[in-house]
Point group: C2
Chain length 433, copies 2
């Protein structure tokens, strides 16, 4: 049973603050082990990756079998049912259509002195996507990571997806192919991250690594950051639903459970302005929890981290929502659109009762890789922007330099950087000679 909070209760602020600062993750300290693995891969390349894969995934590979051959991929992909294939194709198409619109424009203009200024966007050269093995091997994650990279124009895209005991996921391989990726390495863990960051005899290094993973993968990504770019280190998933009483409690209950079933550390919160409705939803959650396949996970999440918060009105709901800065925010209220427009901090908003969050996980179009643990205060979900970078451009004319050069020289002098000033002065002298 989740906790109930009421904003008019005298201890509400304390309880809400406690809810906000709950430590949900018990990340084991694997940093030393990861440092060793990375050093080993840098040192011994393929051989280290092969030995580590044998040890952790109980799978014996050779340099030639580190990646799936085209025939192996074909054979695996052939196992996908027509229904699954059609669903994945529709998802890929919609995700691509959404991300196509994210590509920003280059810019170039002249200032009043005739200087040309601007910037240009270029894709990263190579990107590597990590896809966890086992239970968390999600084909939807492949699409969400790979398609933005593909839209960005990344030339070389590879995947590392461990196949413990040699068991691979045909849908993951199909998702790779739908995203234009031919190279899928069947390796995982810190060794996969190290191989992508530093390269081995067989695996060319990449410039950027994205994708979710366990504690080892997360620690490895932190360590190789700087050598390569990484996306965020994602924490457990969260949903906040703001709903008024004119909703079917069952719909809201199952929306809350769609996060809770991810992970015992996931967090589902309902904010409503109607106490009775809150009670109805909580009852419906308990009912679903009796039969849900993943009920042990979902129950633990709902019991330990779930909450129903009753507020006086929706203005108050928005204030609390911004303090939570939720990864996923569902607004199922009258004037949902108007409320959504007033939200400051959220990874993704699902507007209106006909938009369950699960639509965003799979098929809506927006990315499902979103900022967790209140980081929507300062960061965004994955997008095309994560796979491009901006080069700024400046071209002075003699006239422009004459106009603004003396100020640059002055500032250089005031900062004690003589050569900076001289580089401008040499040109100004020529102009004046």
């Amino acid at each position: 049973m989740a906790q109930f909070l009421n904003s008019i209760s005298p201890d509400f602020e304390a309880a809400f603050t406690a809810l906000l600062s709950m430590k949900r993750e018990d990340s084991p300290d694997v940093d030393d082990a990861v440092a060793e693995i990375i050093a080993d891969v840098r040192d011994r390349g393929d051989q280290a990756v092969i030995e580590l894969t044998s040890r952790f995934d109980r799978l014996d590979l050779t340099p030639a079998t580190l990646s799936f051959s085209a025939e192996e991929m074909d054979a695996e992909i052939a196992k996908v049912s027509d229904d699954d294939r059609a669903a994945l194709e529709l998802a890929a198409q919609r995700i691509r259509a959404y991300h196509d619109r994210q590509m920003p424009e280059d810019a170039q203009w002249q200032d009043a002195y005739g200087a040309t200024l601007g910037w240009r966007w270029t894709p990263v050269g190579a990107a590597g996507l990590y896809v966890p093995g086992g239970l968390a091997s999600y084909p939807s994650s492949v699409l969400m990571n790979a398609i933005p990279a593909q839209v960005a124009g990344v030339e070389r895209l590879v995947i590392c997806a461990p196949t413990p005991d040699g068991v691979s996921n045909p849908l993951v391989l199909l998702a790779a192919r739908l995203s234009g990726i031919d190279t899928v390495y069947r390796i995982g863990g810190a060794q996969a991250i190290a191989a992508m960051a530093y390269g081995t005899e067989t695996i060319s290094p990449v410039d950027k690594i994205t994708g979710p993973g366990n504690a080892y993968v997360a620690a490895a990504k932190r360590r190789v950051f700087g050598k390569v770019g990484i996306d965020m280190i994602a924490g457990p998933s969260e949903i906040l639903v703001i709903a008024d009483k004119d909703n079917d409690p069952d719909w809201i209950a199952v929306d809350l459970l769609s996060q809770a079933e991810h992970d015992e550390s996931a967090q589902s919160i309902l904010i409503t302005d109607d106490q009775d409705f809150g009670n109805e939803v909580a009852k419906a959650v308990e009912r679903y929890l009796e039969t849900l396949d993943r009920r042990s996970i979902a129950s633990a999440s709902w019991r330990d981290f779930g909450a129903v918060i009753v507020v006086q009105d929706m203005d108050e709901a928005l204030v609390l929502s911004d303090r939570i800065a939720p990864e996923h925010l569902e607004i199922a209220c009258a004037d949902a659109e108007g409320l959504a427009a007033r939200v400051h901090h959220a990874g993704a908003i699902f507007i209106g009762a006909w938009t369950p969050e699960a639509i965003g996980d799979y098929i809506g179009g927006p990315n499902h890789v979103l900022p967790t643990a209140r980081s929507a205060r300062f960061s965004s979900g994955l997008s095309v922007m994560d796979f491009i970078k901006r080069t700024t451009l400046a071209r002075m004319t003699p006239e422009a330099l004459r106009a603004i050069g003396p100020a640059a020289e002055r500032l250089a002098q005031s900062e004690g950087l003589e050569a900076h000033g001289l580089s401008v002065r040499a040109r100004l002298d020529k102009l004046n000679s």
Copy 2:
């Protein structure tokens, strides 16, 4: 004397690779010390900050004097000369004009089924800018960090700028005021980063921390990352100049030195298609080094990390340039514009001989906070984008859900996420009832 490389020499590839992988930074391991400082500030707040400032900066503060009062700022700013003020104002105005153009547009559209999709940009709530004390206390850095935040619409902007022995930099305070910042804390080091990330009794926490700093500051930023957003961890500065023989060797020499004088770990590289011109530039560098104020720093940088690379043609120059992925790239050649358009990886390009890199440091308009150490392969300089974040939006209609909902349900089932599927199914059942 810098090293000379020639691309037709048989050992060129080995020498160039060695140049690329030179370890220029000897970052001391201060991580344990920093962890202690952060824990102390989290634990004891103001009192810890005050004691650490007394110890490291030999300055005794109270909670009331942690920040400059308006009168103190006025008095310091009054010391700035008219020339310096005018130069700084011109710089602020040009930097603002450039960054004003970076604000991206929100987007909203309807798909074929009537679903509304889009995204909205919002500023981070509060940002903290770090400004080093002592020799590296650069007013230009204040403008380059603060103005993008201001343009982004960040509501609360503060600065931490240590004043060792109580000595402050009037230009830094003027730059703060020109950027709309009224709150300047005279604290530095890891304690300042900790105070901004976690807050103290006097200092409200921020959501994002940017700005350069020493090893302690860098280590502290790494540690608080996740709790707050940070910008990149900048390495020593670099410049690559691509120049043909139709240049004044003196101009190119002093451009190279304008990076070398920053730091003994800075790196300046010239690529030219004319051996004699390369020799002339190297001679000019030596001549300048005889008299330059910061000659001991610049000489060490040029000797240890400088290079002149002779290539066969400018196509080859571009290939090498992309492998270097320079922070600053100056192109002083015939068809500089055409060459610049072909560059894939560079933080900033300065096009044509009339555009010394120093213009970009101060007054051109583009940001001078740029990716170092080859990270231009995957990251961009500081911009308005660093102070905003995107919330994705989706609103289904019943018709849209009817069209795409079944595929979402299918994918949820294939990933074993039953509640995800049920959240869609509950609505589809209602539609079909």
